[in-house]
Symmetry: C2
Subunit: 189 residues, 2 copies
DNA sequence: GAGTTTGCCTATAACTATTAGGCAGGAGCA
DNA sequence: TGCTCCTGCCTAATAGTTATAGGCAAACTC
């Protein structure tokens, strides 16, 4: 009898793929066991429970997304950086809807503090360095950017813009443009 | 044996209350049956299945929220209307987190078209009348407002602003203010 | 090569969703 | 008042998911 060689990492990765295929809410220990052709209780040697699986997928997605965003904004500044930042989020969500949903999972304070969520916040602040905002405006702006991007992406994923003109891409460009000029207007210089 | 007098409407309302207490995802046919002190299969005379229950709660929440928003913006225009619109959403979400989550349930095209979701879109457009935007800018703006408000509220409900200064209310005011000036700048007049 | 550990297994129990079919009490009619 | 019917909640049964306990054999350790 060949051992499938289960590990928390492999299970997490497979869980992320499963999430993209069937939706994060549909990620279940049972489905994961089926995918590895293994009985359900076998997974409990590697995962505490199904919430543990969800959290692992969330942390994995946060890391992966942070890497992508970091890569996208590297070497850019100002409007360019803002657009790269925004597009990185949107593209990740479109490519990996299940992982994106996972990244929105509510984490406990300790878990959140140890997650790549911290990098996300740092990168958002870095983007804003190009706009010369002082506190508390910079914090407000970070929150606004997070809200717009997350809100737009989740409405788009929910199909909100599917059956109406203009295309989602056009509104996205318009919004990124608007945010750029808004932030420039709010600049202290 | 007294009959509890179940109806789809009573079940929907109780489901909405349950959602606010335990979260929309935790709303279950079983929990609802317990709440009415009735056996689980009894509910199937009134509800097609658990997805049907979810959809009913979603439609109920959309109606209730639309009523609130309509009430809030009545007789207002411009910045005033924008703030009232925004606050109505945020307050509803804070007061009824489960119902708010329900209102974000993905509905089928036919169901969505027959829901109060249509009124929401109309109200957003009405707010923008005060800013003289032409198409397609008006549509872009509707999408942006929806994104910001939904994004902010869902990040706030997820606890994203809990452990950092400044208070969520301050950022909210700053954002509404910023959107107002952004829209005025984009005005055609 | 014996002993130990690891990793997947069977068995079991609880909860949820769903369907089928039964029974009793209230509504309508004589 | 008595009969019938039908509505509304019931019991019974099946299936899927989560979770725990304990077994057994393959794979490391020395």
């Amino acid at each position: 009898m060949e051992r499938p060689g289960l590990t928390p990492e492999r299970l997490t990765r497979a869980g992320a793929e499963l999430a993209d295929e069937v939706g994060f809410d549909e990620v279940t220990i049972s489905a994961l066991a089926r995918r590895f052709d293994v009985k359900v209780p076998s997974l409990y040697s590697h995962l505490k429970n199904s919430q543990d699986l969800r959290i692992r997928i969330a942390l994995f997605a946060l890391e992966e997304l942070a890497d992508r965003v970091a890569d996208a904004v590297a070497g850019r500044a100002g409007r360019d950086a803002l657009a790269a930042f925004a597009d990185a989020y949107r593209e990740y969500a479109r490519e990996h809807p299940g992982r994106y949903a996972a990244a929105r999972l509510r984490l406990g304070p300790e878990t959140a503090a140890a997650s790549a969520g911290v990098r996300h916040a740092q990168m958002a602040r870095a983007i804003l360095r190009g706009y010369d905002l002082d506190e508390p405006a910079a914090t407000h702006a970070v929150r606004m950017l997070g809200s717009v991007f997350h809100g737009y992406v989740s409405l788009e994923l929910a199909g909100g813009f599917e059956h109406s003109a203009p295309a989602a891409q056009e509104s996205w460009d318009w919004i990124v443009d608007s945010l750029d000029s808004l932030l420039r207007n709010r600049s202290t210089t």
